[in-house]
């Protein structure tokens, strides 16, 4: 379970999170949607302990992440996979070395790493690309390599930061199917941050709309199509005139 309680974060005068609360049950996938720049990635970085909140609490399983020591946060991170918005693959390493670095840190025996790496890359459709460097891959391939690195150690928690942004519809669909397959296979507790509502509907059990620093609406993919909430309608239908405050 991932539990966020009353999270607050401001950058100068800009309040990004303002009492944000969310609970993701074990094995559940929640998509957090919202307009660009609303603080979705900031939220995810709080869950991972990459940012410290000004107020509120972050719980991952039984561990409190905010304010914890590096050793405690690292213990949580070893059970967590993070798919970065632009993949964040290490430029100086090949795709296989990127995945292998994650496995090595998880104490996987050296002899098993090549096989586990191959299996992980095979799962994301990158078999045969092991020896390529990130600069030699397309955007979609880099994203998939990022997913392979995140899931190779079979984490209990998965955080996806805009996994489909900037991708063509076919690759988007492929990534969505991958997220769903990983959920079923790993039974991981996941948060997907995205502004792609179609993608959110495909992969998530529940969808939360982040607006003005808190959850403005929450429901299932079916409910989001039926709700009368103005902000959700504005987001679903792409109608700016419905967006509260605009």
């Amino acid at each position: 379970m991932i539990r966020l309680e009353g999270l607050e974060k401001a950058f100068g005068d800009l309040r990004v999170l303002d009492g944000f609360s969310l609970q993701v049950e074990t094995g559940e996938t929640v998509a957090v949607i919202g307009r660009s720049g609303v603080g979705k990635s900031v939220l995810l970085k709080h869950v991972a302990g990459l940012m410290q909140p000004d107020g509120g609490e972050v719980w991952v399983g039984e561990e409190r992440v905010d304010g914890a020591s590096r050793a405690d946060v690292n213990r949580v991170r070893l059970e967590m996979g993070y798919v970065f918005q632009f993949a964040a693959l290490f430029d100086s390493m090949t795709v296989a070395q990127n995945v292998g670095l994650a496995l090595r840190r998880h104490g996987i025996p050296e002899g098993e790493i090549p096989e586990r790496t191959r299996a992980s890359l095979d799962r994301v459709g990158l078999a045969g690309w092991e020896d390529r460097y990130p600069a030699e891959l397309s955007g979609g391939m880099r994203k998939r390599a990022g997913v392979a690195r995140a899931v190779a150690p079979r984490p209990r928690y998965l955080l996806y930061d805009e996994p489909t942004s900037g991708l063509d519809p076919v690759t988007t669909s492929m990534i969505d199917e991958l997220v769903v397959a990983l959920k079923e296979d790993l039974k991981a507790t996941s948060i997907v941050v995205t502004h792609d509502l179609r993608s959110a509907s495909r992969v998530a059990d529940r969808i939360a709309l982040l607006r003005e620093g808190r959850v403005a609406w929450m429901g299932t993919a079916a409910e989001i199509r039926e709700t009368d909430d103005r902000a959700v309608r504005a987001f679903v239908e792409g109608r700016r005139e419905l967006w509260p405050g605009d």
Binding site: K45, A48, L50, R77, Q85, A88, L89, F90, D91, A102
Partner: protein, 258 residues
């Protein structure tokens, strides 16, 4: 009110310097703590030693070669008619060992190595690769800073030792080839005031320059923000600060050790 403006300006400057010194001290402390994670940085050390030390040899030797040639020619020009010519050997040896070998090599490597490190780590910072290291439960400083600073500490003295060797040999070859000086006379001058401590002094200085160049590169790279422009800014600052620190350290070692 205008009279107070210079005082305010000095105050703001002093506060900025103090804040910078505080950040630098905190960063140095974090790197020292990260050095305890030997299993993280040791496998990277060889690769960094090759990039920082071995790959720097050609430029360091090129500069030392011409420094030796010019020193021999200029000292001969200055000594003509006033000082015995075998002092060319003394001047070439003393100047290259004590000053030009370490300092010129340090300044050149501040550009080559310091800029490279700041740009590489800065790019990693703005493309979230540093965050990715954290997410894999690595201490980014143990993985990025410790092997580079250690490699600088270990390889700079070696590079400088080679540069000193080439510089002196170039001075000798110039003296016997272009000046009215025999090999024996050059060596006589070279040995006349040589003390083994000279070389120790040069190597101590070089090691400190190695730490400064790599450490400053890591500091500015690690604290980069603001995309490509931020990386450019960090790179420029790393080179400028490393060069200035080398010159200050040079004076410091001269006061402390000589």
């Amino acid at each position: 009110m205008r009279l107070l403006e210079p005082i305010r300006w000095i105050g703001r400057g002093a506060a900025a310097v103090a804040a910078g010194a505080g950040r630098t001290a905190a960063f140095a402390g974090s790197v020292a703590r990260a050095a305890t994670e030997v299993r993280t940085w040791l496998p990277e050390l060889g690769r960094q030693a090759r990039r920082i030390g071995v790959d720097s040899l050609p430029i360091a030797l090129f500069i030392a070669l011409f420094t030796g040639i010019v020193l021999a020619l200029q000292s001969s020009y200055a000594f003509t008619g006033a000082v015995p010519l075998y002092f060319v050997g003394t001047l070439v040896g003393k100047t290259i060992i004590l000053e030009l070998g370490p300092v010129l090599t340090g300044l050149v490597l501040a550009g080559r190595v310091g800029a490279n490190i700041a740009a590489e780590i800065g790019t990693m910072r703005v493309t979230e690769q540093v965050d990715a290291l954290e997410m894999l439960a690595y201490d980014p400083l143990a993985y990025l800073a410790v092997p580079r600073v250690t490699a600088g500490l270990l390889t700079f003295p070696i590079v400088v030792a080679f540069a000193i060797g080439i510089g002196v040999v170039a001075g000798w070859a110039t003296s016997i080839g272009l000046l009215d000086l025999s090999s024996q006379e050059f060596v006589r001058g070279l040995r006349m005031f040589y003390r083994p401590f000279d070389l120790q002094y040069a190597l101590i200085k070089s090691a400190s320059f190695g730490v400064v160049v790599t450490g400053v590169g890591c500091l500015f790279g690690y604290t980069t923000s603001g995309g490509a422009e931020g990386v450019g800014r960090a790179t420029t600052r790393a080179v400028v600060v490393a060069c200035m620190t080398i010159l200050v350290l040079d004076a410091f070692w001269a006061m402390v050790l000589l």
